[in-house]
């Protein structure tokens, strides 16, 4: 995935929301990043400060909340925890596991002043 352009989207969403709220600055941004989403939280944090510079988001703290991966196994009919995309079902070893969580990529909330 593409952390730099994702970070640009995060900052854009934060600036837009802050304007709508009449805020002067943003102090904290919380994003949900699924554990299976192929986004490196470290890379997001690395890009965030650089992208936020010169905007009302400058200086804000970025908090990355990891969402654990889960999938539905159509062989055992259960929702199981998965640590890796396309990994076999931990219960039966089958590969027919449809991912149901862990792919999230969203700005959940932010703190404005």
């Amino acid at each position: 995935m593409h952390e730099m352009s994702l970070t640009e989207s995060i900052v854009e969403i934060a600036v837009e929301t802050a304007r709508k709220e009449g805020a002067e600055r943003v102090t904290r941004v919380v994003v949900d990043v699924g554990q299976l989403s192929h986004v490196e939280p470290e890379a997001l944090e690395f890009c965030f400060a650089a992208v936020a510079r010169g905007t009302i988001v400058e200086g804000a703290r970025l908090e990355v909340a990891r969402v654990p991966g889960a999938g539905f196994c159509s062989d055992c009919g259960k929702t199981v925890a998965i640590a890796e995309r396309f990994s076999p079902c931990p219960e039966c070893g089958g590969f027919r596991v449809q991912m149901t969580a862990g792919d999230e990529l969203k700005v959940r909330e932010m703190e404005i002043a």
Binding site: M1, E8, S9, A14, L105, E109
Partner: protein, 288 residues
């Protein structure tokens, strides 16, 4: 990962072959930019640190939390929806070709255009970091092509492609090929508004590519295993490669082709014609 290649806001250069170097943002466009489909939970805002008796001293702002709940990809996805709507309105069947660099996408495309052009109108959007070499190769087949140079960017996004489609103006009921930047990672995550992603893998790349880069093989509907003419010289196991791809994506359709000898290309051409016709029929029925 892209963070290491440093791709940021790409300086996008569109080259239509007529006005070289025309900048992507120089002309007006009518994408719907409003995000009215997003739900802002303004009422769910939680107030932190409310001052005594709600006092609010001028110049001293109070911090508060605002719930947003917005998908980070929403902007790209909104552009992709616009592209899909615009393409559907003209009955254009769009394919997004993705692969690693050097898999033979452009050669494959040129051969496919040669085979298709008597029956269907074809146009091409070419994505590369630099140069308009590929667009020139496509134009040599007689098909109109526009080059997008992404600069530092490692993939095409729906906004760039929207501009390119406007400039290119594909004919009604035609086929549009979008040749993405050679990269087996990032283009998987960016919907461009295409009907299908087609992943091209070549037999010089290793059977385990689908396992190493699963996202791309999940996002694709068709896989072309290219350069089959080289198989006698390699230890490549076609069966193992296809099994790996199907393990990642059980719905993936696969074809073994050679852009050099033309092996399997008639099957790809038939796939395009069948799917384009099916789409046109669905459009006519749905009245969309």
């Amino acid at each position: 990962m892209c963070s290491t290649c440093g791709c940021g806001q790409a300086e996008i250069v569109l080259d239509s072959g007529k006005s070289a170097g025309a900048h992507a943002h120089d002309h007006a466009h009518d994408h719907a930019h409003d995000h009215d489909h997003h739900h802002h939970h303004d009422n769910g805002a939680i107030d932190y640190g409310n001052g005594p008796a709600g006092a609010h001293a001028p110049g001293v702002s109070q911090e508060r939390m605002v719930a947003i709940e917005r998908d980070i990809m929403s902007k790209n996805d909104a552009y992709a929806r616009d592209n899909r709507r615009a393409l559907a309105a003209k009955g254009v069947f769009a394919l997004n070709l993705v692969s690693s660099p050097g898999s033979g996408k452009t050669t494959l495309l040129a051969r496919t255009i040669e085979a298709l052009k008597d029956r269907l109108s074809v146009s091409v959007v070419e994505g590369d970091q630099q140069t308009s070499n590929d667009a020139e190769r496509i134009r040599a087949t007689g098909a109109p092509a526009i080059q997008i140079n992404t600069g530092k960017g490692c993939h095409l996004d729906a906004h760039m492609v929207g501009h390119a489609i406007e400039t290119l103006g594909p004919a009604p009921n035609s086929v549009l090929f979008i040749e993405n930047v050679g990269n087996l990672v990032c283009p998987a995550g960016f919907d461009l508004g295409e009907a299908h992603k087609v992943v091209v893998l070549s037999v010089t790349e290793g059977e385990d590519k689908p396992l190493k880069y699963p996202d791309m093989f999940v996002a694709a509907d068709l896989m072309l295993l290219n350069k089959s003419d080289l198989l006698p010289h390699l230890d490549f196991d076609v069966g193992l490669c296809l099994a790996n791809a199907l393990r990642i994506n059980p719905h993936l359709q696969t074809l073994v082709v050679s852009a050099r000898t033309g092996e399997g290309l008639s099957a790809f051409v038939a796939w395009i014609e069948a799917n384009a016709a099916r789409r046109a029929a669905a459009m006519a029925k749905g009245g969309a």
